[in-house]
Subunit: 402 residues, 2 copies
């Protein structure tokens, strides 16, 4: 007998029919002899509808009250899902964040899970109940309801699995697992059977949008074995775990991230402290910088380029214009770029990966603007217009049609 | 400085505009120097919508899960109302049933309030916060969410007022107070400035539909001064309190209750235990009997008539058909009757009240089928088709046009 934690997102429970479908998955897992704990998101558009309701009242809702409002969404879906499971003849009980013991920090709207007091969960499991937890929520030391912020439902599930020492944490989504590229866009994209936490983190960061980074980081920290799978098909998904027993595969996937802008400062004085002045200022404004590239310029000057998300591009440029060190210099901002990356733990011992990627881009006549590498990924910045073509070309190079 | 508890029903907060209107009432009360605690219902049709959602999943939802589901309704309205009050510049905090300390019995769906642990409420009031409580909900000894059942929001408000020793409990509704008759139907119906708890109880029972009986009973028990008033007009309502200082008024109101059916058994043997056999059987099936009338029949037999709500009429008849004591007897059921009542604490010392009522009905050519009296009310059963005419005639007799 195993203890399985299952997470179902908003689209998986968007209406009665889907709730009943999810209930069947849960009941099947339970009837196979497992203890089952579920973390469920709010149904479909519920959260957006509630945000709109608040906007009709005030443009600046207090975060505490937003958490009170939004947490009702998961409360409703948890109750409905418990009913659907009971309707299938399985004992079930829904629990809110405070009942399931989710103790969080008190920064409303983006609370961190501090601990899960599992007493009530253990009692319900001891009664052989399927426990349906309202995801995304907890309580803080003031006994106020909090929400866990972006990726909160995935993170709730992983935290449950860690606290209960679950044998597996299944994240049900609308895709069948983690793919070598976006299967809707890249012909020949393949589902991975396994992937490491680190690879998954790189893929998530790079726009694969399957699992939220916070949840993968937590899974890695507590060594929770994750499975990403679809609630619509009855097929095995992708297992995310430590590398030990994994199949050897050079590259795990090819991703595209178009939420990126390149900013360049031309002709900065070549003196110490230039990078510090620029990037500390950006950090102070909480602007995340991704790729950084510093080139040798002329006449004791250099050029510095970096990428930020498009939403931050304008503010970043304005900041640079206000710095002494870049005053009067030419500052360029290009928001028509995309970042293409290949990710794979195998590549660190295979120097040929980069050249395979570059060759594929060259053969497709695509110009590379910037390059950044880490131990398990290679990213290039290219013209956005060529991005889909680039992904297809690179993917074909690493995953030739069989 | 006073402590005021205010209750707002679902129609008073049905949309953003009405929420903002209610927030203005609250802010005005607060700015007049009062401490304010609010009990709010779910918005408009929210509860019905949630019941329908559950019905799409299962025809027999567990009550525990229904409470989990439905309590989200008040949670959302409480958060939205707190935002609206904050938007007006007043400090406010929303609290769920468990946060406000509502400890209830564990009969889900119809829980009774056992106590209110006021620590958190006192803390928030000490911070000069307006406290917006989600009405209708609490938690039981198992730390499960419960709902308080019919009239729960009114009862929540009165319980808050009792626990906090509030100076007044204001029940905001869509009518301006308690009237001598239904103002939508009876010309010349007048708003009462004051009424006693007992009179209010009789009026509520008889279909005035302003305050739920449970809340009035609790108000009487804990001597909470109630005020019934409209959230749409800025006018004083009706005060409900002990009789001591009240204006002397013979009759408080005239009411009509059409949810009534008359059942008659003709020719029951005139032996001891007949009434016991009939009514204990009805009680065992939880069928409430209102007026009972036993008349002398012929040949050592008697006729027994009583009224039940229409929903229970068929079951009551079936029960009677199955009794030994009424086997083979003629059992009649008339579901086209209405009960007309006059209520007033003054009438017990004024024997003329009954005759004034009967005279008014006689003058209007309306036949009386049954009569029942108590210390503070007189009820008659008449043909439903004549009910509105009867109310108008009786009301005119006690409240002549000025």
């Amino acid at each position: 007998m195993s203890l399985i934690v299952q997470k179902f997102g908003g689209s998986s429970v968007a209406n009665a029919e889907r709730v009943q479908n999810v209930a069947r998955i849960i009941a099947e897992t339970y009837r196979a002899g497992n203890d089952v704990v579920v973390s469920v998101s709010a149904q479909g558009d519920t959260t957006d509808d509630l945000i709109e309701k608040a906007a009709e009242i005030t443009q600046k809702p207090q975060k505490r009250e937003m958490d009170m409002l939004l947490s009702a969404g998961e409360q409703m879906s948890a109750a409905l899902l418990a009913m659907a499971v009971q309707e299938l003849g399985c004992p079930a009980v829904s629990l809110l964040g405070w009942q399931a013991g989710f103790i969080t920090s008190s920064n409303y709207g983006a609370a961190r899970i501090k601990t899960i007091r599992t007493e009530r969960l253990q009692v319900e499991l001891g009664r052989k109940n399927i426990v349906i937890c309202a995801g995304f929520q907890g309580i803080c030391k003031y006994d106020d309801v909090t929400t866990i912020g972006r990726g909160g439902s995935d993170t709730s599930a992983v935290a449950l699995a860690a606290a209960l020492h679950a044998d597996r944490c299944q994240i049900y989504t609308d895709v069948e697992g983690v793919f070598t590229a976006d299967p809707r866009k890249v012909e020949g994209a393949r589902k991975l059977n396994e992937i490491t936490y680190d690879e998954m983190l790189e893929l998530a960061t790079l726009g694969a949008q399957v699992l939220h980074n916070r949840s993968v980081e937590m899974a890695k920290k507590y060594n929770v074995e994750l499975e990403v799978l679809s609630s619509y098909t009855n097929r095995p998904g992708t297992i995310v775990k430590e590398a030990t027993t994994m199949e050897k595969m050079l590259v795990r996937g090819v991703t595209k991230d178009s939420d990126t802008a390149r900013i360049s400062v031309i002709g900065v004085k070549d003196i110490p402290g230039v990078a510090f002045h620029i990037f500390s200022r950006l950090a102070a404004k909480k602007i995340n910088v991704d790729i950084i590239l510093q080139s040798i310029g002329r006449d004791n000057t250099k050029d510095i380029s970096f990428t930020v998300s498009r939403a931050n591009a304008e503010e970043a440029c304005a900041l640079l214009h206000g710095l002494d060190i870049t005053a009067g210099l030419k500052i360029m901002c290009d928001t028509t770029v995309s970042k293409i990356s290949v990710v794979g733990a195998g590549m660190e011992s295979h120097p040929g990966t980069a050249s395979t990627m570059f060759e594929a881009l060259y053969a497709a006549d695509i110009n590379i603007q910037m390059i950044a590498t880490s131990e398990i990924k290679i990213s290039v910045l290219i013209d956005e217009a060529a991005a889909d073509r680039a992904v297809a070309a690179v993917h074909r190079a690493f995953f030739p049609a069989e």
